[in-house]
Amino acid sequence: MAKLCMGLFSGSLDKLTAAGVILSGAAADDMDVEVFVLLQGARAFIKDNESKIDNVAEATHLKDEFINSLEKLNVSKWYDFFEMAKEMTNIKIYICSLAGKIWGGEKLGDFNYLVDDLCGIGEYLTAAEEADIHMFI
């Protein structure tokens, strides 16, 4: 089974949605996935924050068009993509411990239902080394 390793630095709605779509594709392909959430990304995974994310990283002047289009096309919320994908295949989501602390998350219980554990950066690099595909978002 092919292994995907994702470094998820971004905590913005557009990139989180892209990450969710990619995880969904990986789930359909039955891949093993490890997601390492870094710095800005960790804010989106703090308990109850997931639905509050409304900033975009790219083409910020087109934010309203982007969000309206997602709604019109009935595209799933980013965290629903994550949840559906996790139900289908082996996806583990780790929060970099420094990233967590930056946004007030000290322990696993401070994060939402998507998160499996906290980790150090070495674990991310080892996973990237061992994966068939590595991407940084």
């Binding site: 779509v21 969904s24 594709g25 359909a28 009935n74 595209v75 559906m84 994908a85």
Partner: protein
């Protein structure tokens, strides 16, 4: 094509990646050799589905285009 269809999966109107996710899920519920019919409208599915069959070892028996831009696929479980 004259085959017995065990299940029809209607994903018309859904966008990538939902059709492929729903297909992967539905195929898990089928027994070996049973055939699933999938109806969809997302152009991404046209390239993704044969690739997925190839990778997962399932057999794409037939693909055709119906009226109204609907794609129809017949997939046999491995």
């Amino acid at each position: 094509m004259n085959v017995e269809i065990k299940e029809t999966l209607d994903v018309k109107g859904l966008s990538c990646p939902m059709p492929m996710m729903k297909l992967a899920k539905a195929m898990k519920g089928l027994n070996s050799n049973e055939v699933l019919e999938m109806l969809g409208t997302d152009p991404g599915t046209k390239s993704d589905l044969p690739r997925w069959c190839n990778k997962s070892g399932n057999l794409l028996l037939d693909e055709s285009e119906l009226d109204g831009g609907v794609f129809r696929f017949l997939i046999q479980k491995n």
